[in-house]
Each structure stands twice: as C-alpha cells, then as structure tokens.
Symmetry: D2
Subunit: 319 residues, 4 copies
C-alpha cells in the first residue's frame, strides 16, 4: 500500500509497454523487466503508461491491466510505481485514477487534455482537482510537456496555490527546456517539498544544477546506470566527471535523434540493450527499421553501452 510520505526522487524509468509480434501486450516479460531495471540499471521507480509506454494508444482496459501488472511485479522490488492516468476524457482519467488507488499504486500522473485544451491555470487546476478527487490520498504529479500538448501554461504559475485546490498534488514531470520556468518552480516552491522531476533526459545535468530533485525518462530504461553515475558525480561536486557522463549520453541521443527517434526506436534500443523483447509499437506507429537497429547497435557498441551479456538478435524482428 502506498505511503504518501515518501518523496519521489532520483531516476524514474518511463516504462515501455512490451508487445508481442501481433501487437498485443506481452505481460509475460514485465517481471523480468522489473528485475532488469533494479539489478542492471539501478532504477527503482517507474512511471507506467506514459508517452513511452504508449499509454494513450491502449484501451482503458489494457491500461488497467498494465498498471496492475507493474504494481504486482514491482512489490517489494520497486520503490514507487506511478501510473499515468491522463486521457482526453475526464471520465476515463477518473476511472484510471480510482483504479490506481485500488491496486495500491504509489501515485498518479496526469497530462493536460490536449485536444479540447484548458485555456489557463484555473481550467487546468479544476481538471486536476476532479481527477484527484477519485483517488483521495494518492500523490498526484502533473506531466508538463507543452511541445506535445500545446498547453503553454507555465508550470511555475500552476504550482502557485495548487495544494489548496488539489491537496494530493506532489510535483511534476517537467518535459521542457525552459529552465526559467523550471528554476522558478524550484525557487518559489521549495518549502513545499514538491518532486520536481526533469523530463528531458539528454540535458538532465542542466536541470540538476537548477535544483531538480529527480528525473523521469525513457532512456533510464537502458542508460539508468550511466545516468546514476552522473547523478553521483554531481552529488560529490565532481562537475567534470558529471559533464563527461552527460556528454557520453548525449553522443548516443544525438546520433539516434538524427536517424529519427521515437517510441518504436526506443523499443528497439531497449531490446538491444536489455535483451528483453519489447516488440513492435502499436499503429499508427510502425516498428523501427532494420537500418536503424543496425546503426543504433553499432553506436551502442562503440560507446560501450551494450553491456547485457545475453543479447539475442533474434528478438529484433524489424520490418
């Protein structure tokens, strides 16, 4: 059962949803996935059914099953399992939030509706309040990603007074490079002990120096250990080492971004690095090309990121 007192911090993996070759969810590897994160990557927090997890491409029923599997398999192994319950429909978010509370998740995360959008902070707060009301006591995190949602409400303004309206509000995933906004979240609200988690993996160091208390991202699935080394170097004020780690991570991301990098490619890279088959994405996404996989694999090798012993290429049936 979730304890509302412990603060979410450090690295949080935005989990991938493994699928079979036929596009159905492959629940059978989630236990192995949990062990891999904890043992090989040193990552003990997860954020389930978010962008990386194709949460919005799943049906509500599938989202419930995936959430349940992570809570079950993560018990006594993971520190916190946060379920993304954002949806375009308030009713669906509420159903998912209620379910997350029932299964004992440690928190919920919510994206702003991005089709019919909130115009301002008040509209958004009202929406979050209605979601929170169905999961009393469960920590709620706002998922701030203006480039995807088009919702330009500044996080720093949203935080102002939010706990009066949404008592379970506990922080945010800040997926943007506006570090004035992020910095002011830290500066104006530090007494509230919010979790201010940065979500742009390739420049995490820039947010650490600005006061980030943790990070949520897809790369922590396979670069968690490397990133933890950066966090440790930063913690001991060894900025030179921290920067070297950051640059090493950037070289990989910079490389794949130029090839075209999205959820399908993340699934392919995770399969390469972990050896756990993540399968194809769901339509309208298409699986990563064989060319991408070959180039990514070569780059991973050249950067010494491909450390998993039991890698089986057979898991990588690309189109």
């Amino acid at each position: 059962m979730a304890s509302p007192k412990k603060k979410l911090q450090g690295l949080v993996a935005a989990t991938i949803t493994p699928m079979t070759e036929h596009g159905e969810i492959n629940f059978s590897v989630i236990g192995q996935y949990v062990d891999y994160l904890v043992e090989k990557q040193g990552v003990k927090n997860v954020f389930v059914n978010g962008t990386t997890g194709e949460g919005l491409s799943l049906s509500i029923s599938e989202r419930r099953q995936v959430a349940e599997e992570w809570v079950t398999k993560g018990r006594n192994k993971l520190d916190q399992v946060v379920i993304h319950v954002g949806a375009l429909s308030l009713k669906e978010s509420q159903e998912l939030a209620k379910h997350a509370a029932e299964i004992g998740a440690d928190g919920i995360a919510v994206i702003a509706p991005f089709f019919l959008k909130p115009r301002n902070k008040d509209d958004l707060t009202e929406f979050l309040k209605e979601v929170a009301a169905t999961a009393p006591g469960l920590p709620l995190y706002y998922y701030h990603i203006p480039s995807l949602t088009g919702v330009k409400i500044r996080a720093e303004e949203l935080l102002d007074g939010i706990q009066e309206k949404v008592p379970t509000f506990r922080g945010l995933k800040f997926s943007d490079t506006d570090l004035l906004d992020f910095g002011q979240c830290v500066d104006q609200h530090r007494q509230r002990h919010f979790a201010l988690l940065f979500g742009v993996d390739e420049q995490l160091l820039s947010a650490l120096v600005m006061g980030a208390t943790g990070a949520v991202g897809s790369t922590y699935n396979y670069l968690g250990e490397k990133t933890n080394q950066m966090l440790e170097a930063f913690e001991r004020k060894d900025l030179s080492s921290a920067l070297n780690h950051q640059f090493c991570i950037q070289r990989f991301i910079n490389f794949v971004v130029k090839l075209g990098f999205g959820v399908p490619q993340t699934k392919a890279v995770m399969t390469l690095v972990s050896g756990i088959p993540m399968g194809p994405p769901r339509l309208p996404l298409q699986r990563a090309s064989r060319e991408f996989i070959e180039k990514a694999e070569a780059k991973l090798k050249s950067l010494d990121f491909l450390c998993f012993p039991g890698l089986k290429n057979a898991n990588l049936e690309a189109s």
Copy 2:
C-alpha cells in the same frame, strides 16, 4: 440499415452533445434536436461525436450511447448519420467502428491519431485500414484537420490509391484553408465520386467554387437555413447573392471569433438560437461567460439570425 450507394452531400451538422447542468449527457433533448435540424434549419445529415460534440471528452461507453441515440431518433427523419469513431487508441476506434456498424449508422469518420502520430501517408492508410476492417461495408470518411492534429499529410496524397487499401473509403471532411490541396482532391479524384466535404464554415463559398460536394460544420446547427440559401444561390450562379449570404455569416463568425469562440460558445449560441438547452461543456472546457452570451445574442438579433420564437433565457445559466 445503411445503404452504401447514396452519396453524402449538402450540409452536415457537426452535432453538439447536450449536457445537463451537472455535466452528464442529456439524452432527452436529442429527439427535439433532430426535429429542429430538419424542420428549422433544413439540415438532414449529421456528424456525431466529432470536435463540436466533444467526442474525445466522452468515455467510450458514452460515445456508444450518444451514437445510438442519434441513429434511433434520426431514423426516417435524417438522411445520413455519420459517427466519428476517431480516438488515440486503435482498439477504441475499432470498438466504436464495430458498434457503429451494428447500430446501423450510415458511415464512420476518423481523425488521425494526434499524440503518437502517423509520419506519412502509408502509416495513416494502415491505421485507417485497420479501423475500416472492423466495420465492413460501412462508408469511411477521413477527418482532415491539420491545425488541430499536427498531422500535415496532404489530403490529395492520401486519396491517391486509398480505395485499394481501404475499400470503404468514401471521402473526407477537409477542415483547412489550403485550397490547393482541396482543389487537387477534387481535380485528381473526381471520377471516384468521393464526398469532399469542406469544414471551414466561414469560407464555404471559396470551397464551393473549387468543387466541394458538401460541408460539415458546427454552424450548420444554427445557420443551416442561411447557408442553404447560399448553396442555392451558388447553384443557380447568382454569385452576388451567394456572396451576400457568405458575408452575412462571416459577420457573425468574425464577431464571436474575436470574443473567443470554441465549443462552450457554440453550445451557448445553439441554445440561444434553437431554444434547446445544450448545457455546459465538459472539463477542461468551461462554460461560456455571461458577457459572451449577451454580446452574441445582441449580434444575432442585429443580424436577424435569432428567429426561434420560444427562446427561453432560463436555459442559459452561464457562469
């Protein structure tokens, strides 16, 4: 039961979903709404659960109920009832498409997924094909609205060869002002007898001259009669009258657009004009302000658009 032969043409109202003051769907007025469209506005086709209908803000279960109600109440009164089944999740679109076929809808409309997006025409076609497969024989219309979805695939390219992949494809709702793209849809594909329905109400005349075969929009709920007069004038080549009708419509839209015009305001205007209470929108949208309603009402009066005799202001409980 739907006959796949009849072509969708003329005005199609993008229906509003009436709600109670508590934000639940008010099914009780849909019968009255059908009669109003047919009798007062001369509109006999509807597009249900689209943007105007807050389709993506409803739960799947609610979308099914709304669709069913329109099909039932429209029987023998409406010519065609097209159900929008677009969703971010293919599975949900498929469930809704299957349901639309089962209840005897006349067609389905599908928006491109806009969170995890199709990269190109092939991805999008593949997605549409999988939706169509669950509703064999039911006409499918693509809902092209790049400004909302960010999916920039040109309609003219999508149409090229689509019937080989999606045999039930019958046309599109083109909600954009790129009339090169629209014109080439008409020019390149006229032998296919696609329904090429324009979706930018305030400049419909510009698309009529480019070969539009009809129009889908929210204003046809309350300006259908006026727009039909424009269609008739255009039909008889009385361009001067057609333009006068268009300008008259533009004056209203231009006025409300400056005040801020979205779904909540559409609900308020429809309530004003029809006298049927449409209620508030669902969060994160907020109901139209009293100030908007007063200004809109004055404008409607000055343009002589407010012709419903039994208007009851009591239906307009604004915030």
Copy 3:
C-alpha cells in the same frame, strides 16, 4: 507620371530580379522582360522588389536602381509600376519611398517589419504612416503575409480607420488563405474602393468568388495568360471553365511544390517559359538543381505551358 486616381486591378506580376551568373543584377534584360509580360502574358502591372524579386536581399542602392529601371522601361507600356519599399529599418523604407515618388512610380508596397515586430494594429499603422509621409500622394499598399512575417494582425482590423491615419492607403496584397479575414476586408470596406489583391496564386479562384479585385503573384510572370483566361471565364460566370483553368494551374504548382519551390525555382521556370535568362538567386539561396529544371520542363511541356518558341537551354546553367 502616376495618377493617383486609377485603381490597381487585374493581374500584377511580382517581378523577378534578373541576375548574371556572377550574382550581379542584369539590368540589360528588363526591357525585354517588360515586353514579354505585356505581349505574351497580357500582364500590365508589376510589383517590383518584393519577395520574388529578392528585394530584401538587395542593397538599398540596388533596390533604387532596379525600381528606376522598371519605371523607365515600363513607361507607356505598363499600366502601373508599384515598388516594394518594405525593410526592417524605417529609415530605409522611408528612403525607398521617397525615391519611388521621385522617379514617378505608381505606388509603393510595404511589408510589416518582421524582426522587431509591431505588436498590434496601432504600432503597424504608425509605422505605415511614417513611411507614407515621405511619399505624399503616392498610393500605398500593405503587403499582408503573416506566414513569412509572423505578424498576425488581421487585415480586416488594420483597414478599419486606416485612411484617417494614412491618407494614401489604397489597398493590400493579401498573401494568406484566411478568407474570413479577406472576405471581411471586402465586405466591411467595399465603399472605400481599396485594391484588395490576392497573393496565393494557386487558389486565386477561391478569392475571386470572395470579391478580390485583382491578384499579385510570381506565377503571373509565366502563367499570366492562363490566369487571365480564368479571370475572363469567371467574369462571364462560366465557373466550370474557370475551375478547369484553376485546376490546370494547380497541377503545375502542386507538382513543383512537392519538388521544393522557392525563388530559385521561380527563376528557373521563368527562364524556361520566357526564354529570358533570369540567372541564379543571391545567397543564402542557391540556384535550382538540374534535376528540378528537367522535371519542371517536362511538366510544363505535358501541360502545354511551354509556349515560348525561342527557348534556349543554354540560359539554364544550373548547378
């Protein structure tokens, strides 16, 4: 000498600035160019030093020389020579406006400054007023092109009351597809006899039906005759013929747009069609590729647009 009474109407060619292979202005062909427009394309109005003419890539001294050459060579041949005097610096616009008046141009056109931008209608009006003050009596046209300038001020609002502030204001080049805004310019301001010239060539028909009084564009350099046929068909209410002409033009534009179509490609196409060497563009633009030229030429032939007898390929030294 310009008479301020005659209204600018019909087709206006946005002139190309011919250059030598070394990137200097090739003044020697401008006389031939004037004759070609008048005799072969039936176009008797020009808009000099605009986007197509690379006006903003020329030095102020060059812009003066180009303007002078067009006024001189166009005398007794062209109806109106309008000089674009827009610049990022008010002082430069003023110098060019004063010069245009001195040389006897028939009007000036002005784009909104687009680096440090006007925030609203008042800022923009103030700017236009200061430009106009240096060329008293000379008709001034505003060049509305929000997609390039990022200046989103609605044209319809700008026109409201502008003649009280800028007495020489006579109309605008409207280069946008928002035909609500354009329609309201026509509707609200028709008693002022403004020239409301449409600037999106590939969908001119859609603006004619909305009340456009003419058109300014680059394609009228080489598709002027074809477009005039469309205008004539529209004038006699032969909408079917007008649409066929529009579609024919669209087929060409649609084709080249997909290949990448900008000023360098316009120069290449004009060279192909007119036989007058337009030369390369100025940096940072690069000349059209040989592949583009070959494909464009084949398309022009297939559409029967390549009617100039003395075409010499030697003029087309592409990279």
Copy 4:
C-alpha cells in the same frame, strides 16, 4: 587593433543603442555607457548592433557610426568590441564586415538571413564564407537564434568542418534552450577553442554546467555584477551560491516577462538602473508604458538591484 589570438570569454553585454526623444541615435552618452559597464557592472566585452541594439532597425550608415563610436570610446577600456553585421542582404553584411575590419573592431557576429533562408548547413556556411571574405583575419561569430530566425540548422552540425570553409570562424552566440545541441558543440569541438557563448540570460547557469565559455546578453548591461558573482561562485564550485544568484536574477526576469519584455522595456530598465538615458526605441516598436516602468522599478528596488546613486527619473519620459 584587434589581435586574433585572445579568446572572447566571460560576460559580453549586448549593447543598447541610446536614442534621443526624437528617435535619432544619441551618440553623446556612449562614452559614459562604456565607463558604466566597466566600472559598475564589471563587463568588458560588448556585442554592438545586435537585437538589443536594434541593429536591424538602423540604416547601414547609422550602423557604421554606432560601431565606430563603440570602438573609439571602448579603446583601452573594453577588452573586445564585436560588431553584429548580420543583414538580410549579403551585400550589406559585407559592407558592414569590411567597415568593422577597417575601424579595428575585435570581431564580427552574423545572424542567418531569415527572410529568404538558408535551407541547410551548406547554404549557411557559404553565406558566412562570403561575409568573412570581406574582413580577412577578423574573428567571426555566428549568432544562433532559431526562435527568431526560423533557421533550425543545428549549431553542432554547422561547427563541423566550418573552419575549413570559414577560417576566421571563432565561435557562436547560442540563443536557444536546446542544451543537447549546445552540449554537443562543447563536446565535439572543444579542441578548437571556439568561444561558445550562451545567449539565454535567465538560465545561464544551466549552460555553464554544460561547458559554456561565456555569455552574451542584454541583461548584463544592468545585471552584469550580479551575474559575475554567479560566475565566480560557479568557478569555485559553490553551486548553492551560484543557484541563489541565478534564482535572484530569474525572479526579476520572470516578473518582467509576464509584463511583456522586449527591447523597449530593456531600454527603460537600463535607464532606471544605470541612470544613463537610453531613450525610446524606433518604430515599429513603441516605448515602454509608464505602468511597466513603475512596476519594474518597484521590483528592482525589492530585489536590491537598483544600486545606481544618481538615478534621475526625469530620464524616463514614457508614453
């Protein structure tokens, strides 16, 4: 005379161009301005005629005079005077670059042309090469500001191989928050000893940790001393102090950004803090409102940023 050996580093003030109440350049205060920067703000490098200096709103003749005045008055006082010579016209950039070399400036900066734009790295490099050729030996800095120019070419790619084409290339002003791109500029090119100057003042700390070698910005005119304290704290690895300084700066910027903050407001704030009258901006910009000035002054006082003893409010004739 410029020595090409010394590397540009530390804080660089993007200078304001002082104007009289009638909008002419007020050369008379530039000497005082130099002294103020050096003595009160500890800033010894300047970047003249950039965005803050309204460089693109001045005529070429004015730009030459302003450049000359800064070089003259800065002699033996400033370390480096870099002249921005960017323009929409290559010819004008070349004239300004040649002039900068003649007057003994220490470097030139160039923005990408942003009306007719370079499509890719090669186009842009070619453009920079032609500018550089007119000022042999003079260090050239690229001004990367994609949000204003729309030129999305990644800086990291531009740097790759640039010195082979543009031998005087020495670095860039990076005005963007994409710290993956910036980090890779540092990581991939550190052996070249480029000046990698960050241009988003309000989050400078995030770039320092990523390896920035200096910063160019408008706030260093009046917050130079405060920012230097941040640089020193960062240098001695006192990250907590550095962050406190950054937050203090952010509180001011965050405040004025919400009020609307551009060049006119920068002029007003600099007048408030330095006591040197900066005057109004040039059209289409309008001077800061009295309301803005009063609020900014109160905020400056509350943050203890308003330290200049001889402040005269008479200098602040706002509209």
